[in-house]
Assembly symmetry: C2
Homo-oligomer: 260 residues x 2
Amino acid sequence: MRMESKLINMGKQQNFKVGELMPGLSVDNVIFGFHDNQLKVLLLECMNHRDWMLPGGFVLKSESTDAAAERVLYDRTGLNNVYLQQFHVFGDPSRSRDSLMSSAMKSMELPFETDNWFKQRFVTIGYYALVEFEKVVPVPDSISASCAWHDTDKLPRLIFDHKDIIANALTSMRHHLNYQPIGYNLLPKEFTMKNLQSIYETILNRKLDRSNFTRKMLAAGILDKKEKLFAGGAHKAPYLYSFKKKEYLKVLKDGFNNEF
Amino acid sequence: MRMESKLINMGKQQNFKVGELMPGLSVDNVIFGFHDNQLKVLLLECMNHRDWMLPGGFVLKSESTDAAAERVLYDRTGLNNVYLQQFHVFGDPSRSRDSLMSSAMKSMELPFETDNWFKQRFVTIGYYALVEFEKVVPVPDSISASCAWHDTDKLPRLIFDHKDIIANALTSMRHHLNYQPIGYNLLPKEFTMKNLQSIYETILNRKLDRSNFTRKMLAAGILDKKEKLFAGGAHKAPYLYSFKKKEYLKVLKDGFNNEF
DNA sequence: ATATTATTGGGTCATTATGACACAATATTA
DNA sequence: TAATATTGTGTCATAATGACCCAATAATAT
């Protein structure tokens, strides 16, 4: 069988001939969602039911790397048109060194015939996505046991350098916070100020003063205060807010906290 | 001749067998220097003496992408251990679409036998480097007519999407300014406050108030004021400054203008 | 020799932003 | 009905910022 016509089984929508793929190049998505005032990341469970991995895939010779990341995102979440941002390339050959590789292959319990393809050295492009938690229906691929959300601060054991990739995604988001607002892509239409503050606190990894946070967010002029209050929670009912899309996009473009 | 043993002639230190390279993956360096209070970028002149291109190269199967970028930088500048930062992946297949590709091939006047290698679709990783202008001895590679500095605001015609790559590098630097100081890697040991301000103005693309800029830089506590004055210029002689390395690195690590 | 001129070092000052609190209002639970 | 946690809003001292101003100075022009 010629190498180029060999099939790589990567799930329902992902049976590719090797000849159609960019060799040694992959994308890995760090998909963030927000639930219970906690930042979550979507992971795939390996067939050994112990290790987990990031949703990833290969780049078709005919598609852009962005499109490859969008395809992977769609296959795992059913979502299209979400915030998806390339953040770092992981290009160290040691990331797929033999020891890691064979243990990862074991975790994944991949069929023998995919060996040669998977065992090559991969450079992977990290993307992070911000999605609305409620809208996601997690779908495992054919080499995974399950697909589920995990708290970013209570991650399970991960294959390869996927733990580093997630940490790097968080750092990149932290930097992006310096010049753009966030939340539009993570929160439902209506949300409380506490919801928004929790996102910032998770990404910045520190507590913020509630009063000062509210003042600053309102000063940015991107929030619409609803008269409807959030019912059901314990204690005083907070206001609900929504983003003013036009103003949000303007601030995204012109910068949030531009200094100097 | 087997494909894997074919030689790609890319300059004195760059004769690689195709089989030793990551297929379809390259690095391109945007090398910034500072001279005459202007930000400059190092470019290679194509053999047609009209188009220019970024110094770039291929990634060896055995080396990290970072190492590939360092190798390219060393070959063109003779410099090692400089600030080199990956900033974006350019992964759209249309960037190497036929029309662009063949015109670029013409510009470069590449020998026929390299066609098949060069004509494949490339994903390129953009790196930007900050180097000390005076220390650089620009060295063209074997497929270039010359290697020279150009003002970032007066760029010549460039092949492929290299103009976009430079613009993107500047934007990325602008964002990095938000959380780290700059200048240590661009300026000689001793420099004037005006030198430093010019760098910031170029990267931020706007004028800054001289007095306020001085106040802010001094407040950061990373500058050492020399008693020696800069002689030779017209008008009043300014003080010379140098960076306090330890403090500079601390600010680089902890953040310059961290907000919230 | 002296005036001119561009540039530099060092300020002022009003305004805004920030960080650290305070306190009353309120919705659930005890 | 009281206790409690949470929220909306306000205060206030301090820090940072933006927009100026002015005297000192070194080369150049006269």
